[in-house]
């Protein structure tokens, strides 16, 4: 492969890979605390993108019952993405209270939580379709400011000055934002009291409560953080491409699942590694086969799980009798 094409694919892969990582971390932290896969995480991704779209003052050009509606104000994008993701976070909390907690307090099988979260996902998708419509919503091209609007791509010529490599500016911004989020998250989980308590709850909720940690509060915070990360990832992908409608998050939801299984269920560094691997693998799918790009994540998952059933960084599960 030509070196410039290689570098271009690599950078694009890193950019989308970090977004996958952020999204997958939302799955992972919930799994590590409750041992369940939250199938509504893809719908949260969708909601985050819609929230931010409307918070910046975007109009609904869909044909749902709220056709042509919009907020009477528009927030600056940075504020909108934070508020929008936070709203997605609270949707996550709501889902926990409505779909997971009642099952948990009754001691239901974790498999049932999976089904109920799948139900929530369907409700959200249909609600969005009913209210907003099935049409594509696009963020304005100047959402990241006039500079990005004027310079949709930046040429890098560090490999070969005679053949500059164009990289989409949005892609660079998304990569930078994702990287900052990942670093903050690593700090939060590894260095702060919150993170240590969160890991204690994940390891053993009874021991954590014997130390004075309110497990219920940490479950709340976990869903808030998970939803925030899901909503943020949705917005970033939405600005990079567009919001493809109510089913926007479905493919990403499945891909996120591939990412965490690939990295090792419940493993935080594994989710980041898994995201990067899948992002890079997709970026290197030759143009002729780009229609099959989505299949790459799952083919990769299949092959890796044959060799390492516990995922790349996962611990082997020991079934205790």
């Amino acid at each position: 492969m030509d070196i410039t094409v290689f570098v271009q694919n690599f950078l694009n892969g890193l950019s989308i890979g970090t977004v996958y990582a952020i999204f997958a971390l939302g799955y992972t932290i919930v799994f590590s605390i409750l041992g369940i896969i939250n199938f509504s995480h893809g719908a949260i991704f969708t909601l985050g993108a819609y929230f931010t779209y409307f918070l910046i003052g975007g109009l609904n050009n869909g044909s749902g019952i709220l056709a042509n509606a919009g907020l009477p104000f528009g927030l600056p994008f940075v504020l909108a993405i934070l508020v929008g993701s936070l709203m997605a976070g609270f949707c996550g909390v709501l889902i926990e209270r409505l779909a997971f907690k009642p099952l948990r307090t009754r001691g239901a099988d974790p498999l049932l939580a999976l089904v109920s979260s799948l139900g929530v996902a369907l409700v959200i998708v249909n609600l969005v379709q009913y209210l907003i419509g099935a049409e594509i919503l696009s963020f304005p091209s100047n959402v990241f400011g006039e500079f990005v609007n004027q310079n949709p791509s930046i040429n890098f010529n560090f490999v070969d000055p005679s053949r500059p490599i164009p990289i989409r500016t949005v892609q660079i911004i998304i990569f930078a934002v994702s990287l900052v989020i990942l670093v903050l998250l690593a700090y939060l989980i590894n260095r702060t009291k919150f993170g240590k308590a969160l890991r204690a709850v994940a390891e053993n909720p009874i021991t954590a409560s014997l130390l004075g940690v309110s497990v219920d509060r940490y479950i709340f915070l976990t869903f808030l953080l998970s939803g925030f990360l899901g909503g943020l990832a949705g917005t970033l992908v939405g600005t990079s491409f567009s919001i493809s409608g109510p089913y926007f998050g479905v493919t990403y939801g499945l891909k996120g699942l591939a990412v965490i299984v690939l990295g090792g269920l419940g493993d935080i560094p594994g989710a980041v590694l898994g995201g990067l691997v899948i992002g890079l693998a997709e970026a290197f799918v030759p143009g002729d086969f780009s229609a099959y790009k989505e299949a790459v994540a799952f083919a990769l998952l299949f092959i890796i799980l044959l060799v390492r059933p516990q995922g790349l960084l996962g611990r082997r599960l020991i079934q205790k009798v």
């Binding site: 009291k193 240590k196 308590a197 890991r199 204690a200 390891e203 053993n204 009874i206 021991t207 409560s209 014997l210 130390l211 004075g212 940690v213 309110s214 497990v215």
Partner: protein
Amino acid sequence: MPMLEIAGLSVNYGGIQALVDFNLHINEGEVVTLIGSNGAGKTTTLRAISRVIRTKSGTIQFNGKDITRSEASSVVSAGIAQSPEGRQVLARQSVYDNLEMGAYIRNDRKGILEDIELQFNRFPRLRERKAQMAGTLSGGEQQMLAIARALMSRPKLLLLDEPSLGLAPLIVREIFGIIAQLHAQGVTILLVEQNAKIALQHADRAYVLEAGRVVLEGDAKELANNERVKQAYLG
């Protein structure tokens, strides 16, 4: 007024009666031990006090305050810490972080650092291993860590669940040396043990549990000489 007073406590555990009309009290500064065979309800008692299992009836009062319906986390804030059965150290966190987590309810950074130092002086082995993941410690070291971690919340009452379980005699002696030290320093302790001999040696008073009921109680030295206790538990 006793520091801890349990009255008429009943607990059902998976359809069986784990505790039946259970009464117990602990005065400040006492070491009280709860002995009995496997499944007698000893661990259930500690779990009920720490509020990590549901109780069916009865009351638990701590320093005159009813904690029967409290959250597990607020029991710790009230001043009761537990070193649970099987140590339950946070295997994937360092020894140091485990100690820090023991002080979760506290916010006095300086006092916490001083107390970590205090635990390291009490258990020098933990200082040597402070950066090590707790899961890689030996059983004895994990037991020391579990006790040190419980002490980090500066509890008024310390609950110890089977601190001798699975440990070599030499380590058991070391652990009980620390328990005697804590007793001398005035720490109030409720000690659950299967090793009745060593427990009775270190306690002021004792309760003997059989199938969820208290069958004997009294002065630890006297119980150690009781024929029934000798036959059943001291072999």
